[in-house]
Structures are given as structure tokens and as C-alpha cells.
Symmetry: C2
Subunit: 347 residues, 2 copies
Amino acid sequence: MPEIRHDPLLDRWVIIAPERAKRPQEMPPAEPTAQAQPCPFCEGNEKETPPELWARRDGRGAGPDSPGWTVRVVPNRFPALTTSSPVRHEHTGLLKSIQGVGAHEVIIESPGHEDGLADLPPSHLQSVLEAYRLRLRAAYQDSRLAYALVFKNHKGPAGASLYHPHSQLIATPVIPQNVRLKLETALKHNARTGTCLLCSLLHQERTSGTRVILEADGFIALAPFASRFPYEVMIAPVRHMPDFTDMRNEDLLGLAGMLKDILQRLKMALDDPPYNYFLSTAPNPAALEQEEWDAAHLKSAGHWHLEILPRQRPPAGFEWGSGFHINPGIPEDAAQHLREIGTKRGE
Amino acid sequence: MPEIRHDPLLDRWVIIAPERAKRPQEMPPAEPTAQAQPCPFCEGNEKETPPELWARRDGRGAGPDSPGWTVRVVPNRFPALTTSSPVRHEHTGLLKSIQGVGAHEVIIESPGHEDGLADLPPSHLQSVLEAYRLRLRAAYQDSRLAYALVFKNHKGPAGASLYHPHSQLIATPVIPQNVRLKLETALKHNARTGTCLLCSLLHQERTSGTRVILEADGFIALAPFASRFPYEVMIAPVRHMPDFTDMRNEDLLGLAGMLKDILQRLKMALDDPPYNYFLSTAPNPAALEQEEWDAAHLKSAGHWHLEILPRQRPPAGFEWGSGFHINPGIPEDAAQHLREIGTKRGE
């Protein structure tokens, strides 16, 4: 059974999940292959996954776990965490752990094995984003789950083990370290200035313009000032919005258009690079007490955003030891290049 | 020129180093090769590196930058940071940066292209550790440098770009996030209990024994309770010792023996895996003021240690987004396996 262990030296958590060692190794980092036989995520192979949690069918198909879907959500067959067990905290001397509880789901982005997000129509990406919104809401129905992270691994060097386009959601009973750091930083800024840190930052970036890649439909894409990786991109709503699950359908369509556009530009600029993306959004209100955070304060301080990290080189000892990243690329140059790709396409 | 940028959302730093993009790509992650022509780190090719900062010669050879050395330290030719410029802090709205200053050195571990640390005699590893000690001391002569991290990247998937065995040292004008978190956690524990956190943890681990791999010559190797990676190993002195640079020569020989032994066991257990290691030690006393830390307090709370991270899978979106690691291996099983390898060798 998976277990969440506390690292007493760094005051952070690690998931120990031996089940994960059994997952198929279709795509080891060194030799990506395009074919798994049979691919459990392809249309027609629905019986190869656990029963679906949600799917968009638009009136087609014969019902759950059969063909006819456009986006489909299933539990991960090799979960890092499972929801089936009660939370059990253990404590031996300096060592703390939490047994079991958590969610791990797979969002299968399209029925076709080769249909990458960059090449699907915006309306299809909208359904993927709708799945994110629905599954985040579902996770937060469970008051044991403090935070749910939606993320995507594209290609082996970015940690993908299956080729078929998919995202994942992992929900944990503690707020993860990076999420906590971000929220604490935002809360401190808010307490000091009365403003939202990301709203202020976006205002400054839009005024300067050098790192802005694109702005449309109420969303902005930019190369962060302190990008950890070359061609890192952040997408955020221009107006203050703490919680991704508050997005309306028309907002999702605007975001879908921007996400597709940015993924296409990255694909052109870097020859379809491996990448990760992940969504930073509000924690489960049920979990605020454990952090002594105030819901109203968090609503003025938090602002959801999506980070896209192209992964052309593995992190090394310096990164692990320091938490510092060395980025050989200049964010302003990346922003300019990605802007120009838009121009070349005749925009 | 390299620049250190502050990430306002996570309150941490990133090094933007465009010079690094020019370094040779002998060893891309996917296709490691054993030959570079000519390898700048091989004996006889001393002119291919910047002038050496230190070398162990034992009376052989014709002087600096010529053959006859066993361990050699040179400035990195493609530095992430350089010491040549004055510290210049910049600040525009929410965005902060520090221009330039820092050190980046390469510790060439042996004159031979194929002589890996696991296979060299302990006396040779002792010279490598002596180089670490000397270069850490030299870095801390510069009061602009707050922390120096010694680390090693073994093989392409662990971030190595050259095959010839080498370690590196990077010194930064700010204390890196992970180092700060560790020291803060240790200081908090010390303020609460009056004890050193790592001393207490080692006591608990030695009593339980399930995660101990080896203990000898005053050093202990164990599989950390919350290991981030399968077969992660920590080596530390059993008795309280805050600063690696206080190690005496006979201590270095004991540590060299243990390091060689552990690297050999990992090589046998995992078929010569890619790995990173790095040293956590005391910051530059000259930098304590910027953190409002007390030197005496830090001396009772800090305890140097070396972490070895085998790197069989790349980190993925969940790790980047959460700071949480998912480890498919059980630390107690890894400890047992690594203990048994010692027994099989007839110990």
C-alpha cells in the first residue's frame, strides 16, 4: 500500500509507492517507442483500464467503458496513492508517515494514439480542460484530500511511460511543498500590500512587454523572469481568479485556444520537445485549517496559472542539492522567438 | 554574463547562464558515448582547460598544467557563474536579480578517462575529498559567496555532459533554497530540543537498524526514511560535525573507504546506474548575517552529510509542480539489498 513519508531534514513529504514499479515500461527515457500492444488508452481497448470515472461522449457510443468518447478519465492502474483506505497517521520518534489515502487518475486526451494536444481543435482541448475542472471538483468532495495537482508528461525524457496522449491528477492529504511555498509567498505579499502577487506581476509584465508571448481572450502567456528551463511558459487569466474550478465553459474555450497555440509554437521552436505542464490552483477549502490559512485571505491572494516546462536536459546534482536551477536560455529571447513564430504563421 | 534571478512566486532563485548553452554535448542523455576527441580532462590534454586552481602531484610531473597529477581542479570553461565581476543587485518592481558573481569549478577525479570512483583505491578517493575540502575553504575566503555546493553527475541521465570522471563546485552569493530549508529545519529542532536533528535521527536509525547499510570508521551509510529515489543513500559522520572543511586527513580516508564501498554496491545492485551526489555542509560564516542566523547556534544545529541519488527515471510533472517525489522503491528493501551485497563479497 502506498505511504506518504515525511523527510525530517527538509520538512517535506515523499510518496513511497511500490505498486508504481510494476507499471509497463513502454517508454523508457532512452528509447521512446510509439507502439504499445495493446495500448490501454486507445479507443476499443476500454476494458484494459479500470472502469471510467468520466467521459465526454456527446450522445455517441454505447455507454461507459465502450468506444464513442472524445475524452475519458480512468483511475491509474498503478496508483501512487489510492482513496480506498482511511487516513492513518504514524509517528515513530522523528519519523512521520501517512498511510495510503490519495487519488491518482488518468485523463486520456483523445481516442487516437497519435492525436497530440497541439494538433487537436480548440473545442477538443476545451473538453480536456473540462475534465480537469470536473475531476478537481470531484477530488475536493473528499475532505481528506488537501490538494489536487493536474499535470502532463509529454515524451519519455519528461517522465511519460505511455505514449498515448494523457494527463494525470494526483490528490494528496497534505498540501505539497511547492504549492505551500507559493501560497505562503502570495499570502505574505497580500498581507503587506493588499494586492494579488500574480495580478501585480502580470501588470508589470504587460507594461514591460519583453517577456509577453501572447495575450488573447482574457489570458496571457509569458516567459517567466526566473524561468528554470529554456522556453518555459506560464499561462494565466489576466483578471484575478483564484480557483481553476470557477472557470466557465466560455473561459475554458479561450484557454483551450491559447494552450493549443503555445503548444504548437513550442513544437515548432524546439522540434516537438519533451515537456511537463501542471496547474497551480486553490487547495481544498476543507484543508485550510491544517495550514492555519483563512479562506477569504486566500481568495484575494491566490491566482491560478499553468506552467509549461520544456525538458531538453535532465536536472543534475546541483539542482537536487540546491533547489537552484541553471537555465542556459534567456527568457526574453525565448519570448521573442515564440512571438515571431506567431507572426510567421501569418498572424 | 550570468545573472541570478529571483522567482517572485516561489521566493527562490534561478541562474540564467547563456554561456552554458555553448558547452560541448559529448553526452546527450539518450546516447552516452565514452569518447570525446580530445577529452579536455585526460592527462596530457591540460592545455584544453583553463589554468588549474589546484592539483595533487606527489612530487611527480613538471609543474602546473602538465601531466603527472592524480586529482586536478580547474575553472569550468562554460561557467554558470563567474567571480570576475562585482556583485550588483538590481530591482525593478517585483523583479530582483543579482549580476554575475559566483564560482564554478571542475574537480577532475583521475587522469584516466575510464577510472570511475567506485574502482579507484580509497587513497585516491581521499585526494578527491581533499580537493573538495580545499576548494570549499578557498570559496569561503570570498565573503561575497554565501554557499558552495560540491556535487557530481555520473552519466548522461544524471545530467553529465562529459564522460571523464569529475565533480563540480558551484558557489553562489545567496544561500540556495534547499540548503536554507534544511538549516532552518535544523535550527528550529535545535531551538526546541537543544539537540542536533541529524544526531538524533542517526541515533534513532542506529537503534532501529532497518535502514542502516553500513557503519565503519566513524561514518554511517543509510537509506533515508523518505528517500526520493530508489536506492538513495545518505552518508554522514556518526559524531556531530557541522562543517565538512573541519575534516582531518584520517577522517577523509575513512570517508573515502565508505564512499568507494557504497558506490561499488550501487554499481553491482543497479548495473552502474546514473547518479548524482552532493554535499550538504555549513554556509560561509560571512553570509550568516543575510539570513539572521547565529554562528554558534548553527554549529550546534548543522551536521554535514552526503546524499547519493541514483537516477533511473526522469522526474515528471508531478515532481515539478508539487515538490513531492514519488518513489517506487521501498527504502528498507534497498538497505537490505545493499547490506547483502556486502555479505556476498565475503565481508
